[in-house]
């Protein structure tokens, strides 16, 4: 195992200077993610227009992998609608868990997360923010549909 695969420059940079860090108040959707294994906590704030992510920010304390993943995610999903997020969510899941998944160029900086799969104990750190955003969007959709 190669530490440089895990702690790539992009990861270290987004850990040191997380993008879109902070709150959005008021927001249309928010959700808290918690990794009980390491105590990481993360809160996502999302502003939606129809089902498009207009703005997204996050707060929390976590390891380098979870912080960088959240930071990279907020950059990647801004402007995406629900369908496009779902598609990306699926690709990230493959990237983090499947040994033979090849990151294609369209993933951009998110491809840096592919090093995590060599470190099974850390996959949850990288996926926490993605599950949390998925939950936030699902809940918001559920609220809309019941009204």
């Amino acid at each position: 195992m190669d530490l440089k695969e895990l702690y790539r420059d992009v990861i270290l940079d987004h850990n040191r200077r997380p993008r879109n860090f902070g709150r959005i108040e008021p927001c249309d959707a928010h959700a808290e993610g918690h990794n009980p294994l390491c105590g990481d906590r993360l809160t996502l704030y999302v502003r939606l227009k129809d089902d498009r992510i207009e703005d997204i920010r996050f707060e929390g304390k976590g390891c380098a992998i979870s912080t960088a993943s959240a930071s990279l995610m907020t950059e990647a999903v801004k402007g995406k609608d629900r369908g496009a997020f779902n598609e990306l969510y699926g690709r990230i899941h493959s990237l983090l868990t499947q040994q033979d998944a090849v990151p294609d160029a369209s993933l951009g900086k998110l491809a840096a997360l592919s090093g995590v799969r060599e470190f099974p104990a850390r996959v949850k750190c990288a996926s926490l923010c993605w599950h949390t955003l998925n939950a936030a969007l699902e809940r918001s959709a559920a609220t809309v549909s019941t009204e």
């Binding site: 195992m1 530490l3 105590g39 304390k61 976590g62 380098a64």
Partner: protein
């Protein structure tokens, strides 16, 4: 001269290189590096005498205990009851009936919570614990609180990670029915003044349970000298197998407690109308027990006594002092838990590097430490940190292990420079 000097030495020093040869797992490499195992507080490794005792039992003696008249059943019963007597001697209990085999410390505490506390406590009664307890010595009492309406109180700790003794004493009153305290903090290493706390609790008429999970591998435990009413510990932190542990209880208390679980072995007679329960200790051992685990635990007790508990403790204290000194010299490292009286547990944080990242980087260098909240989330909350890295030492660790830890920490600093 050397011979004379050896003879008058108070406790023979541990021959660590010889000890290491007893632990085959230490020959493993991790990520191409020799294993540096600094996670004995989570679970210690097992020496050959323990592995062999379990193998010998499984290959020659196994059957069910307390059942048949055939030879193997008798051999298994002798092995299991022999292990109970071994435990009795190890902790200096008065009688073998005071030694209940359980799965581990957690089960021992839950047994006391459900069988001693739950039937006796009600609104107005108090259970007192401390701010440095493991979840296993918090959650069972919260369950009893919710079941009975009693109150759960928590004695404060200070920035060194010690229980505030004055605060603890001030919280004792005639309403205090049960006091449950760690002997050694798993997250901080602090050794608690258990004898003094027990005496004070007894003066108010309270019963005292000691969570001995972290104390049992680091010092000789004499339950009668401590004076506690219950003492729980696990085999796997004492170089024994997992899934076996001990609840010691004073006979008078155990005898008055209802059984915890029902089933085979814990009964004398059963009809559909009425069941009469077995005598101690079987009343609390429903179902087929972990026989090979008990055999392994007894072998582990033989093993640590052959090395000498004092010699082990002295060796670990040298490593703790060495590692503490080295860590204090590294900028950005903060040691969490700085009580003057500690067991060989060293919790720390490194500025700018999350403990989880530290754990991964150390692992890449072959150094195994525990990272996280150590099942002591209230301790993390008190120190306002999400987690720590924790290095813990056992009889097989060396100065070279400490050096490997320090080198791996420099590597972490490099990665996150």
């Amino acid at each position: 001269m050397a011979v004379t000097a050896d003879r008058i030495a108070p406790a023979p020093a541990l021959d660590v290189e010889r000890v290491r040869r007893d632990f085959p797992i230490l020959e493993r490499t991790i990520n191409g590096r020799p294993l540096v195992y600094l996670d004995s507080a989570a679970s210690s490794q097992r020496p050959l005498p323990v592995l062999r005792a379990v193998e010998r039992y499984e290959t020659h003696c196994h059957s069910n205990v307390h059942r048949g008249v055939h030879a193997l059943s008798q051999a298994a019963t002798e092995a299991f009851e022999g292990a109970r007597e071994r435990v009795r001697r190890f902790i200096n209990a008065q009688s073998r009936t005071e030694v209940i085999f359980v799965r581990g410390t957690t089960e021992g505490i839950n047994l006391v919570a459900q069988s001693y506390a739950r039937p006796r406590l009600g609104p107005g009664d108090e259970i007192l614990i401390t701010g440095l307890e493991h979840h296993a010595n918090i959650v069972p009492w919260q369950m009893v609180r919710d079941q009975t309406g009693c109150t759960l109180k928590v004695a404060p700790i200070n920035r060194r990670g010690e229980v505030e003794l004055d605060g603890f004493l001030a919280m004792l009153s005639p309403r205090t029915r049960l006091v449950a305290i760690a002997h050694v903090s798993n997250a901080l290493g602090t050794v608690l003044p258990v004898k003094r706390m027990t005496d004070a609790a007894h003066a108010h008429g309270a019963v005292v349970l000691v969570d001995g999970a972290q104390a049992i591998p680091h010092s000789a435990v004499d339950v009668r000298a401590l004076g506690c009413d219950f003492y729980a510990f696990s085999g796997h932190k004492l170089y024994g197998p997992t899934g076996i542990g001990v609840l010691y209880g004073r006979e008078e208390l155990l005898a008055a407690m209802p059984p915890w679980q029902g089933g085979g072995d814990m009964i004398l007679t059963v009809s559909f109308e009425k069941t009469t329960y077995n005598e101690l200790p079987y009343k609390f051992e429903a179902g087929t027990p972990n026989i090979s685990g008990a055999v392994g635990l007894a072998a582990a007790m033989d093993y640590v006594e052959s090395l000498g508990l004092e010699a082990i403790a002295a060796h670990e204290q040298r490593l703790l002092a060495l590692a503490t000194g080295e860590l204090e010299r590294i900028p950005g490292i903060e040691i969490i838990g700085t009580a003057p009286h500690k067991a060989a547990v060293l919790s720390f944080t490194m500025a700018g590097v999350h403990p989880h990242d530290l754990g991964t980087i150390l692992d890449s260098e072959g150094v195994a430490v525990r990272t996280g909240h150590h099942c002591a989330m209230p301790v993390m909350t008190f120190f306002e940190i999400p987690a720590t890295a924790r290095a813990s030492f056992g009889c097989y660790n060396t100065e070279a292990d400490v050096a490997a830890l320090i080198a791996a920490l420099s590597k972490a600093r490099e990665v996150f420079a």
